[in-house]
């Protein structure tokens, strides 16, 4: 094959691949954000017993959980793509898109508060960790109040 043909084929293949990957289906966005929230609940929920003092603080457990939670706290937002407000069984309110600045701000707050939780876990500071757990939960709530449909 001539060099020119090779380049042309490679370009065509790349173009095809890009167009196939360009935009996931709307349903996929909803899946993405739901998956992120589901996993967040999975790793966050069990820490409630620690915050309430029903279970002793265990540094290794806290570090492990928050090492998952910090990246998870950054994941849901790209799932809220425009045009995915009425897709499937989404519980997202239209305000996510109509008041996107506030939504983004609260999302950013979750990332910040979650990072702090990880800091206290890594420092093995049980008291600060328990208190910060409440701050993270409060951040979840403040966003749910405005942007998540009531069942």
């Amino acid at each position: 094959m001539k060099m020119f043909t090779k380049i042309a084929l490679a370009t065509a293949a790349a173009a095809l691949a890009t167009s196939a990957m360009a935009q996931p289906k709307p349903e996929a966005f909803v899946k993405e954000r739901k998956a992120a929230f589901t996993l967040m609940a999975w790793y966050f929920g069990p820490l409630a017993a620690v915050a309430k003092g029903e279970k002793p603080f265990n540094k290794d457990d806290a570090v492990r959980a928050t090492s998952m939670l910090v990246p998870l706290s950054k994941m849901p937002w790209e799932g809220f793509a425009p045009g995915t407000d009425k897709v499937g069984n989404t519980e997202a309110k239209a305000e996510v898109w109509s008041n996107n600045a506030k939504f983004k701000e609260l999302g950013g707050k979750l990332e910040t508060e979650m990072a702090k939780l990880a800091t206290f876990a890594n420092a093995g500071d049980a008291e600060a960790f328990k208190k910060q757990f409440g701050a993270v939960g409060g951040t979840c709530k403040s966003c749910h109040d405005d942007f998540k449909k009531k069942s």
């Binding site: 409440g134 409060g138 709530k141």
Partner: protein, 233 residues
């Protein structure tokens, strides 16, 4: 009911259980609303308030059958006709004194108690989809639990409206009808026209022993419900 009189005599109306119930409920309801709004770690206190409210309201519902005369539902729930007539009259010039709750007030008491009981019971089954579940949530499906949480939020708003109406009516009596119902709920005594005062003085009194017995039983009952999953797993 009687026409206003300048000669008012103080007479005992609200028994000690009714009064303690009322003001504890005021504090706990306020705390429950605030801690529920804050969320986060305050939710632990929201739940404790809920258990205490469930205890108080259950006690009060029983007390409505076995308490002092004016604590009893039989003494303050009137027919719809009487209730409407009284409510219409209320905005007139005079003032109809009533020993216990007046007819619309009586129905409001029942509405508040039943709504609070429903609210506190629903709370046991809730799942806030963050990190908190009520102590009985595990006995229903997650979908049910989440749906009940939605109802819990709606009833919270209904309760605020009912409480607002209740307080508005009391303030209406204080400022327009010049009858201080708030002081009466503290002291237990109402200033009444002579005939009503005599009626109140002769009315059935509450049994302190029975009151405490019922209260202890209800505490035990709520403790069992709240700790069911821990004690009986």
């Amino acid at each position: 009911m009687t026409k206003p009189s300048t000669e008012l005599i103080s007479a005992p109306v609200w028994d000690i259980f009714v009064r303690c119930f009322h003001w504890s409920l005021v504090l706990l309801f306020t705390a429950a609303v605030i801690t529920g709004e804050i969320g986060g770690n305050a939710i632990a206190w929201h739940m404790r308030c809920g258990y205490a409210i469930l205890t108080l309201v259950t006690f009060r519902l029983i007390w409505g059958f076995v308490g002092g005369e004016y604590a009893r539902f039989g003494s303050f729930l009137s027919s719809p006709g009487k209730t409407i007539a009284f409510a219409k009259n209320m905005f007139g010039k005079g003032h109809d004194y009533v020993v216990g709750h007046n007819p619309p007030g009586g129905w409001m008491v029942l509405a508040l108690l039943l709504t609070l009981a429903t609210q506190a019971t629903l709370g046991l089954f809730t799942n806030d989809e963050i990190a908190t579940t009520g102590p009985l949530a595990q006995y229903v499906s997650e979908a049910t639990s989440v749906r009940l949480t939605g109802i819990h939020h709606i009833i919270g708003k209904v309760l605020l409206a009912l409480v607002g109406l209740h307080v508005a009516a009391v303030l209406f009596h204080l400022f327009v009808k010049k009858e201080n119902l708030i002081r009466a709920m503290f002291s237990g005594n109402k200033s009444l026209p002579a005939d009503l005062a005599r009626e109140a003085q002769g009315a059935r009194k509450a049994s302190t022993t029975l009151g405490f017995a019922v209260f202890v039983l209800v505490i035990a009952l709520v403790a069992v419900i709240v700790n069911w999953s821990v004690w009986f797993k």
